[in-house]
Symmetry: C2
């Protein structure tokens, strides 16, 4: 168990990291068959002819693998990681063999005006490949409890 | 195979639908174990005590199930469904037994100024539960080829 992370521990600029996560071709194909069955996620030949220029993971697969790293990185959050949504970007594709890393940066912390026991943190979750290039950026606001008063 | 859908076929207000997709408890647990291993996605007891008030699917699971419906609804797109990202919202949780439906609406169509063979379509993909309530809204811009000149 990590030490608990309360709202007071989240100052803008604080970073959390996780990874690496290896993305295998087998996993790319399995995810695509289940959730995103398009040729460029399923077949090398079809993928070469496509804008991707080769087999690429579904963006939703990248998002799901990122979430697994987010859960590791933010294990100490008492209410877990629950976001109501956010802005999602996939600047470049994820390829078989890529090793993904996660870098979370706290952007903004806002105590609730109506609920003194909580607040929200705006975070930018950047998923990077082995070359350090961004493959996903998700900017999300999550609810975090304040440190209990003794 | 559906008839091909070109940029000229996408007028603002046009709708596409797919579903229903049944979400089973077994699938919720399997997805969470793999990608979002937090107690409220894995365990009824823990989920009851959480803000969700009961077992809920990972938002990324909802997103992945939605993508499967998007691929069905937009099968006719010649270059497939490839988005660079978008605005994602999860207004309410998905529960075991929910039947999800997809409603896509074309919001805006923009021919490319530099590439006469293509353009982009801004779409709002709403995922609804059996009660017709929104469980996810994803607003995304995708690239679509223009109808080839004979």
């Amino acid at each position: 168990m990590s030490a608990p992370i309360y709202l007071e521990d989240l100052t803008p600029g604080r970073r959390f990291t996780a990874g690496p996560t290896l993305v295998t071709e087998e996993e790319i194909l399995a995810f695509a068959r289940q959730f995103d069955p398009q040729p460029f996620h399923l077949d090398h030949e079809a993928a070469r002819a496509h804008i991707f220029g080769g087999l690429a993971a579904s963006g939703w697969h990248t998002a799901a693998l990122t979430m697994r790293m987010v859960v590791q990185a933010l294990e100490g959050l008492p209410w877990g990681v629950v976001g109501g949504g956010g802005e999602l970007q996939w600047p470049r594709p994820v390829r078989p063999g890529d090793e993904l890393r996660l870098e979370i940066e706290v952007l903004e912390v806002t105590p609730s005006r109506s609920r003194p026991d909580r607040g929200t943190a705006l975070m930018r979750n950047r998923t990077l490949n082995g070359a350090g290039e961004e493959v996903q950026i998700f900017t999300v606001r999550i609810m975090v409890p304040r440190r209990p008063q003794e």
